[in-house]
Symmetry: C2
Subunit: 415 residues, 2 copies
């Protein structure tokens, strides 16, 4: 596309990560430098902020706070889960976006998110083009699920992986402190892709991790699970299981739902807890020993205090590269990462992939990186993941506690 | 007591903390230097290791691993929950301990634990004295509950408090990322004392903490809880609640048990989850909004990667001071901490308190540090807790992951 002069808007979408604000920092700091970009806006709550004309003027933020964004978890601008309709069915939102873009002369649109958000970004771009409105549209990837197509890995994944691996290493010490049998079942995020649950293997690689790992890519059955646990239990009396919240049986039932049926059948009452408490109840009943169900919950995706420096830096780069590409005339692409190994040393190079390619489908965990029993991952995964979690990143501490960015959030007067 | 020459044994007892091994490091490093101490033994699984003569020869450990103990969470020697009988009722275990101590010429006994362990230590000391066996007995405090008498605070508390405060600050960012109502209920450890739950107020002090705090010292009723939540919810639509696992109603029922009754009444089924899922279910039903129940589980007591340097150093000092006092002839005492504020600057001085005093009873949270509504803590608590969490402590990272101590654990041949 020809180079455009005008305002830029950036929005954050979907579930937060530890580093989505680092990408925001990269976008803002680069955009504020670009001559072609006349104004830099942050959309409050993603696409919703565009529809409602809620824009923050990012030129009103201090350099210090923009830098602090790099180590501030979650979405500083606010996020959203809002799915745009298919424009061929209902183009109301698209027309509204076009109207707003025209009003504010927005010629650069950057959107930060996962699969769904890349799809949204792509649809908006196509609609604007069809309407004859010139606007450069770029996607910035993020997801702890690591399931975006066309990129070696996704910003946000490695910090969550480092949280998972570090925390399991600590829980491992705790869970074997008594000389009595104990089973620990740990629930990790990832509805459809097992990348984050697989990161528990990094703890095992250091000798302090799970014995068994269950990913959503493999159908989960209670019988196989209990028999797997029994094998380890009979040998050591201590078992740690890492499993994905997304594990489903052949009928597509999630573990929490399986528990409901099972518990009602076996004990005459419904089980209301999450998946970790369902599995904990099942093994407690089977093995009559101390059992603990643990859910890493929100902590795994916002644990910036144990972030990966590699991840934080790459997330920043993804943001700044999106702006550089945009001002050089590229549109309809997402920034992706290419892994280059030189003499065994990892480097990461930004590359651009077509938005429609990235929005296409989920990149699930490779089946060839599972062991024969499909209850653990192979060393190929360790080789893949280990370089990503290198380097210690945490926010600066003031009074022993994190100092996160505090944005002024000066609203742009509505036009 | 006259100075004694002989072997020393050290054991760890009760629930692990992030810094109990730092006290072990202090005991071992000091004991290995003392001329009066001929051998330094680590008891496997506390008192059980003594009864079973399972001793590790600590002189067989490298300086590097002994140093790494300072940042290795949980009990490296193994812990135990074993309550000795009242010796006037059943002195079998005491006689066995005496037999073992004689056999190995153990003249120094150091025991690291909370209330119950100090009681055990005290009973053993009295029994040995009554039996005419000369042995110096010293307690080393530890508990994340911070409920030991005769000390300003307890090793282990501050690191758990720093975990709680930091993690809530992160969860706070995550929990308000969407512009839709959300209620988050966070369960924190502490069966009888609210010190650790109160630490959530440190996050609030930094503007990113809970709106409501419930301690076990205050009777908990669902009605008051729901009405408290409603007041915040109506104002902001976002509520974060921190509550102690030890919260009970006037009849002494824990929250998890209340839920069971409540859920059966209201929906016709039993609620099996922990306290956080019980409260989450209650507010979900009342407020019809997104609700998340979070349990900090084992992570809060083994999160050495976000330890307090102050705590780690003080825990080490408690260990080394116990040895120094012992070799100077002191017995039947526990090392305690005195807080000295000089020009507003915190310093911590070791002092010795009588074991029977420390074992006496639990130090609960002061009622005068609660607000009028008894659903938050006052600034006096912040002033008390803030100095304790200063300084960043974490294990050294190798390959981006913690490097914990790996002891050789060379067993002493049984005599």
């Amino acid at each position: 596309m020809a180079k455009l002069t005008g305002a830029a808007v950036f929005g954050q979408s979907g579930g937060p990560t530890s580093v989505i604000n680092s990408s925001a920092s990269g976008v803002f700091q680069q955009a504020l430098k670009e001559e072609l970009i006349t104004e830099v806006y942050g959309a409050a709550h993603g696409i919703k902020g565009i529809l409602e004309e809620n824009f923050y003027d990012m030129s009103k933020e201090s350099q210090e706070e923009l830098d602090l964004l790099k180590t501030t978890p979650s979405s500083a601008l606010g996020s959203v889960r809002y799915k745009l309709a298919d424009p061929s069915v209902d183009d109301t939102d698209y027309k509204r976006i076009l109207e707003v873009f025209k009003k504010y002369n927005i010629r650069y649109f950057f959107y930060n998110g996962g699969n769904d958000s890349m799809d949204t970004t792509n649809k908006i771009s196509k609609f604007l083009a069809k309407s004859g409105y010139e606007c450069i549209v770029m996607g910035v990837p993020k997801t702890i699920d690591n399931d975006l197509f066309g990129t070696d890995h996704c910003p946000g994944y490695a910090s969550a992986a480092r949280y998972v691996a570090t925390t399991i290493m600590e829980v491992y010490q705790d869970a074997r402190v008594y000389d009595t049998p104990m089973i620990t079942v740990i629930e990790i995020m990832g509805r459809n892709a097992g990348w984050l649950t697989a990161a528990s293997a990094l703890a095992a690689h250091k000798g302090a991790g799970p014995d068994l790992i269950y990913l959503p890519e493999v159908p989960f059955t209670i019988d196989k699970f209990v028999s797997d646990v029994r094998k380890v239990f009979d040998k050591t009396g201590k078992v740690i299981v890492a499993f994905s919240e997304g594990c489903k049986n052949n009928e597509g039932q999630y573990i929490a739902e399986m528990g409901s049926t099972l518990s009602t059948d076996a004990f005459g009452h419904a089980q209301l807890g999450g998946a970790s408490s369902v599995l904990a109840d099942i093994v407690k009943n089977e093995f009559k020993c101390k059992v603990r169900g643990i859910e890493f919950s929100l902590m795994q995706r916002c644990g910036a205090h144990i972030g990966s420096k590699t991840d934080v830096d790459e997330a920043f780069m993804a943001g700044s590269e999106a702006v550089k590409a945009a001002t050089s005339g590229v549109t309809d692409h997402m920034v992706a990462f290419e892994r280059i190994m030189v003499d065994g040393k990892y480097t990461c190079k930004p590359q651009l992939v077509n938005l429609s390619y990235a929005a296409n489908t989920e990149k699930t965990f490779p089946m060839e990186w599972l062991n024969k029993e499909k209850n653990f991952v192979t060393k190929e995964f360790i080789e893949y993941a280990l370089p990503l979690i290198q380097g210690d990143s945490h926010p600066p501490y003031v009074d022993g506690l994190p100092r996160f960015a505090k944005l002024n959030k000066v609203l742009v007067p509505k036009k």
